[in-house]
Each structure stands twice: as structure tokens, then as C-alpha cells.
Symmetry: C2
């Protein structure tokens, strides 16, 4: 177990029982009598990852004194939606390795990955309709819609080097922060009412999620595939402009800017990430992005520190630190 994994295990210890229950539900939900489907869900469950979003549902419930018997099911639904977005993301990104396991689109094909993602979404929504309150169905279908809009906007804004930081954050927020926000909000509010705690935790989740995405974007530039556990340099291949690159581009002279644009747009260019590193020093951009992520994490921490002290609240306070340091 890496140091980062050990740290996460300590952080989620206050909700370990709920996580166990969540995993049981998740396993039962992705099981299918159809062999063709179960082959794939078996495969996909191997990259179940850190299950941070599910843990956030449980921690937010505990930290706000709102844990219910249904929280583990909500956590499982959130994880299934996340898994669905991952499977479809891998189609979109053309990724080959996810958490050291071949992606569905690589092991089978793109078509199958699309269907498996659809299956996971449908399963998640079906499970949410069995809960005693409709709040989870409402919050999560709206979150899913916003995730899709963010992804579509991101695709439309590829190769746009003039992208404002605000726009980048809005899109990165829609892509990633929305599900963190929804997980924390549901933890604090489900089955309903409790608007104030819901809003506080939603803001916490949004900030942590945006920080997570910014770190992800940095790892795609400077991470090592063997450490990060997934392909790197994808954003460049896909023409996605991320915060570190946008910052470096803003501060570069026109010749460097032109060279950077060529790295993204040059037809048939190989190893674009290595080429980009050779035409410009990315480090100032990485530092700028990390600083932004740190500010977000501090703001999120200050919010949950207003809650009464508890093991779950302390875990939420520390989760930002984990997000900043993962795989670094």
C-alpha cells in the first residue's frame, strides 16, 4: 500500500462500516444474470479506485449528525454514477490504462464501453428510485446532467488557448466538482430539509472536487504513468487546455505561444507531451495551479471547521490535504 493509500484508509476509518455496506450493495448491483454483462462488470469492478465520493457521502452524514440507514446505498449510487462517467470518459479520451487495468474500450471496444456506461447509469437511477426519499434521484440526475453539459462544453472549447481561468474552472467544476458536491450535499441533507447543512457541505464538496480536478490536470502533465496508474498526456492529445498550460501560455512570448499551439495542433505529431515539455517550462504553470488548488482546499476546510468536532468532521478537514498530495 502506498503512503497515499494508507493516508486515505486512515481518513475514511470513521465510516468503515458504512463503506463495507456500500461495497456489498455495489457488488450486488453490478452483478447481472447475463454473462455478457457480468464479464464486463467484473472487469470494471477491478478499477473501483479510491471510492472517495462514496466515502464523502458517509463522512458528510456523520459530520452533520445525519447518518441514516440509507446512506450506504446513496454512496453506492454515487460510486456507480462515477464509474459510468469513467467508462464513458475513457471512450472520450481514448485512454488505454485506468488504474493499471485495461480500460473497457481497450479490452472490448468503444461500443461496448458506451453500453456498459449506460447500464451503470440506469442501474444507479433504478437503485435511487428504491430509496425512501426522492431527494437522491433528484440531486443525482441533475448532477449527471451538469456533468454532461460540462463535458460537452469542454469538447467544444478544445484548442482554445484564450480560455479564461473562470471558464476553465466552470467546466472543470461541472465535470468533477458537481459529483463531489452532490455526494456531500446528500450526505448532509438526505432524506430532506436541512438546507443549511446541505449548502455548507455542497460548497465543501465543490471546492474539494475542483481542487481534485486541478491536481488531475497537473498529473496529466508531470505525472509518471507508473505512479499515477493511468495514461498521461491525454489532455494534450485531446486538445484540452488545462490551468497549468493556460497559465504558462498567458505569460509566454508570441514565439513560444506559437510553438505551444503547434504541439497541440500539428497533424500526426508523436509524443506531444514530451514535445511540449521541450518547448516550454511547465513548472510555473504547475506551481500556479497547485496554489489555486491549495486555496480551494483551505476554503473548504474553513467551512467544515464550523461544524461540531467529531472524527468524521476531522476526516473531512484532512481530505483536502490528501487530495493535494495524492500520487505526487
Amino acid at each position: 500500500m502506498s503512503e497515499s493509500d494508507a493516508r486515505l484508509a486512515r481518513l475514511v476509518a470513521p465510516v468503515s462500516e458504512g463503506l463495507l455496506r456500500m461495497r456489498q450493495i455495489l457488488e450486488a448491483q453490478v452483478a447481472e444474470s447475463s454473462r455478457a454483462v457480468s464479464d464486463m462488470t467484473d472487469h470494471v469492478s477491478r478499477f473501483r479506485g479510491k471510492q472517495l465520493r462514496g466515502a464523502l457521502v458517509l463522512l458528510a452524514g456523520d459530520a452533520t449528525g445525519n447518518a441514516t440507514d440509507e446512506h450506504p446505498a446513496i454512496a453506492a449510487i454515487v460510486e456507480m454514477i462515477h464509474l459510468a462517467t469513467l467508462v464513458h470518459d475513457d471512450v472520450l479520451d481514448g485512454a488505454k490504462v485506468r488504474r493499471r487495468v485495461a480500460c473497457v474500450n481497450e479490452r472490448w471496444d468503444n461500443q461496448t464501453a458506451v453500453l456498459l456506461g449506460d447500464f451503470l447509469y440506469a442501474r444507479a437511477f433504478a437503485l435511487s428510485t428504491d430509496l425512501s426519499s426522492r431527494l437522491a434521484s433528484r440531486v443525482l440526475s441533475e448532477a449527471t446532467r451538469r456533468i454532461c453539459v460540462g463535458e460537452i462544453e469542454q469538447a467544444a472549447l478544445r484548442y482554445d488557448f484564450e480560455l479564461a481561468q473562470e471558464t476553465y474552472e466552470r467546466i472543470a467544476g461541472a465535470k468533477t466538482a458537481v459529483l463531489y458536491g452532490a455526494a456531500c450535499e446528500l450526505g448532509a441533507r438526505y432524506p430532506g430539509g436541512r438546507d443549511e447543512a446541505g449548502a455548507l457541505l455542497a460548497q465543501f464538496g465543490n471546492s474539494i472536487g475542483l481542487a481534485f480536478q486541478i491536481i488531475d490536470d497537473c498529473l496529466d502533465l508531470v505525472g509518471e504513468e507508473s505512479v499515477v496508474g493511468k495514461s498521461v498526456g491525454n489532455d494534450i492529445e485531446d486538445g484540452k487546455l488545462t490551468l497549468p498550460v493556460l497559465h504558462v501560455y498567458r505569460g509566454a512570448d508570441e514565439a513560444t505561444r506559437a510553438a505551444m499551439r503547434d504541439v497541440y495542433t500539428g497533424p500526426g505529431l508523436q509524443q506531444r507531451l514530451s514535445v511540449l515539455r521541450s518547448v516550454v517550462d511547465l513548472q510555473p504553470g504547475i506551481e500556479y495551479a497547485l496554489e489555486r488548488a491549495r486555496t480551494l482546499v483551505e476554503g473548504a476546510r474553513a467551512r467544515v471547521e464550523t461544524l461540531p468536532q467529531s472524527r468524521a468532521r476531522d476526516a473531512l478537514c484532512e481530505i483536502g490535504g490528501y487530495v493535494l498530495e495524492r500520487s505526487w
Copy 2:
């Protein structure tokens, strides 16, 4: 307007007010403030098609004395789910033309088509959570799951010339009949209770839907692109074995069988449909499949004839005839 379109317009006349309301809801739902998204939803709404599934919700409601103010919204949700499956299907099939309009995956790219389908699913589920009863969310998320399982099984069974008719019908049923069944069931049952009417109409919808899929599979073999309004020969290109072909294959000698297999599997072969037509007479298969579709339609008709006479019931009785004769 073609004769077939005019016939459908007459059939759905008893629910024209509900259809108008359904279209208004649909338009409002796919509208998005994001320009990138609205460009695509505008495009996709151009292939809105016959909206037969939405009409079935309304007709089933009227025919069983169960029309509510919420039926048009349910019809809109069913149509949105259908639209989502179409958009993803086009990615899966590599189709280029859908209802004489370029498919999303052709006009933009596969990635965008995946996201647009996800957006439509999410929008549909979000709308269903606003209804007064959860029945629509439950029935439709379960239907969506079954559609995905059917598609995944179909993909796993490509190039399987030994496919039993029962398996073909189970998969074609999951792919197509499930949403017809769900539409009719919700029309008859929503907001809840009314199990008997629900089961009767679900069976009606399932039979009509399976007949529809069988006809679709025939059109893919013998239809003309200009009449059908979408590419033909897709099933052969994708290795999908359909009822007419399976029937012909079952009755063929070994030499013909080998030739048929080669048409599907020969690497780089062009115009597979034309080649298939040249190695075997497909007509007996088409006739066999049409006979099966006719039997299904007659069974469905007999079911709804047990309902009290009304304009809506009579329309349901005739809808099978429309399905059998469309674009023929």
C-alpha cells in the same frame, strides 16, 4: 406526407392535444443555456421521428380510462429516453444518416454523441423525479437497464449464425420492445395500482415493439435508403444476425452457409448487403419474419380488443397494422 405518415397521423388523432403538450415539454427540456449543448439538441430534434412511443403512453392512458395531466410529461420522458438510445445506437452502428438528417456522430464526432446521449438520459430522469408518483422513474430506469443489457448481449452474440430464434427475440425484445412495453404500461397504470390494466398494456406494447424490431431488421435487408430514411445494410456490417437471415441460414446447404458466413466475416469486403443478396435468396427469410411479426401484431390486437370500445382503443388496435406496413 407519405401514405404511411398520413396513416399514423390519423391513428394518433385521438390524443393530438396530449401530443402537442408532449412536444412543448420536450422542446423546453432539451433547451439548454449552454450554446455548445443547444447547438446539438437543436440538431437532434430534427430527427424527432414518429414519436410513436410517446403517442402510446397517451393512447394507453385514454384506452384504459387512465389519462392524467401528467401523461404528456411521461410521454416526453419516454421520447427523450428513446432519443438517447438512438444517439448512442448511431455510435454503435456507425450509422451516417438517420431520418434523412446526418447523425450526431457524423456531424460532430463519436465522443460528442456519447455525451449528448448521456445528457438526454440525465434530463429524462431528472424530469421523471418531478412527477407526483415515482412509478415512471422506476419503470423507465429499469427499462433502460434492460435495453442496455439487450444491446450488450447483442454485441456479444455478433457473428453467431447458430443463434436460436428465442434468443434473437429475447434480445430484440430487450432492445426495442421493452420501451414500447414500458410506455404502454405507464399509460395504463400511472400514477400507480391498476396492475391488471398495466400488465395487459405492457404485453401489448412488448408484442408491438418486437414486431417493430423485426420489421426494422427486414428493412435493413431489403429497404431502400431513400424510402427508409436511414442507412441500410448496417446489421451485416456490424455482424448482427437477424431473424430473416437466421431463417435462410437454417434452411441453406453447407456451401451456401459458408458463403453467407464469408459475407459477414470477410475482411475489408465492400457492399456486404449486395454480396449477401447475390449468394442467397433472402425472400423466404423476409416472408418468415413478416409472418412472425403478423402473429405478434394479431396477438396484441386481441389483447386490447378486450378493453371497452373508444377512439383510443381502436387506434391501438390499428397501430399494429401501421407497424407492419411502414416504409414498405
